[in-house]
Symmetry: C2
Subunit: 215 residues, 2 copies
């Protein structure tokens, strides 16, 4: 899986979205473990830390006032309300690191993806994972615990709402086998890295190829 | 290298270009041998067959009059004069096979690539291979035989002219290791196949995912 990429390049913002139960979290964890050039994007949130969560690693935990200020100062790529708290993707660090060739993984839903695509289009690559069938998705949502049919039904409705936004993504992968799905996601990442427009080192490299040479 | 691609998809026109000596022919042969979904595009030519060449396999050998007629009837994606003969890519078969998910490999130079990109933009994916250095390219061009310095010099000038068109391609791969280069080219092909816009089967597949389900 290691191709030919010796030149300096610009990093990319790699979005992975899927309905709950389609394997996004598993793929994201495997990708971060296997690939040394991609990092998770760390969100800022007004939600209080849960036991074990580390500030700056799981989230940047900020006050409501600080979040207000960051919104006012345009310090977010995107932000949203979720269950009474606010979550956002801060631009700080990401922009500078993209220039250095660091990639960022965004494990976000269609709304976050939509906002991100509109703001930094050239750097964004978006991948949507689909379950192999709606029956299989139902089984996966049910097997998670002892929730009531009503709760599972609400989850299914939410999953189908997420699925309905598949057509805004660059790539769509059907996850009927987690290993094959992971391979495909890595191929997408590797291919995107080698795109001409991301390889900032090409101009100098080609200038060197064009010099007169003694044969 | 086998990812998750179960759905019907549209084929793509995969262009591989490089200066002579940068490995294009080797990569093209390996790709055709390893991948069952891609076929070589067979050119039509007015040049007479050489010993061993098979009509319809190496080239479609046609008369000058037939070539004239094909040009007049817009039956080529692109065509060009090369050393007094004409070569062209006939549209026949390719269009129908693209709909069936067959990919075509085009081993062509920058001028052919330029024409092809302008005519069938959505289906075209173009990859340019670069040598690791101009000195290495010189060595490769020299090691091919016992040609005079003048002949080698002319080849080098031609190679540098080809290199100067690198910036029209979607992907650029530096070939300093043939295996790594081949891996990267396959990753590009696999990623492009999984692009949402090529997967014609997605609309029906998602319609099925959106149906009401008994939990």
């Amino acid at each position: 899986m290691t191709g030919a990429r010796p030149l300096a390049r610009r990093g990319l913002m790699f979005i992975l979205s899927s309905p709950s139960g389609a394997g996004k979290t598993t793929i994201a964890h495997r990708l971060l473990a296997a690939d040394g050039e991609i990092r998770p994007s760390v969100s800022a949130t007004t939600r209080p830390p849960r036991p074990g969560e580390v500030d700056g690693e799981d989230y940047h935990f900020v006050s409501d006032e600080e979040f207000d200020r960051m919104v006012a100062d345009h310090e977010f790529y995107e932000w949203a309300h979720v269950f009474g708290n606010r979550y956002g993707t801060p631009k700080a660090h990401i922009r500078a690191d993209l220039k250095e060739g660091v990639d960022f993984l965004f494990d976000i839903d269609w709304q976050g993806a939509q906002q991100l695509r509109q703001k930094d289009n050239q750097d964004v690559v978006s991948v949507f994972l689909l379950p192999p069938s709606i029956e299989e998705l139902g089984r996966r949502l049910r097997s998670r615990g002892t929730d009531s049919d009503a709760v599972i039904g609400a989850r299914m409705a939410r999953a189908q709402d997420e699925i309905s936004h598949w057509d805004g993504y660059d790539y769509v992968v059907v996850n009927d086998d987690i290993d094959a799905c992971f391979t495909t996601v890595r191929e997408i990442l590797e291919a995107e890295r080698i795109k001409r427009m991301r390889q900032t080192g090409l101009i100098d490299f080609v200038r060197d190829l064009m010099k007169p040479v003694n044969l």
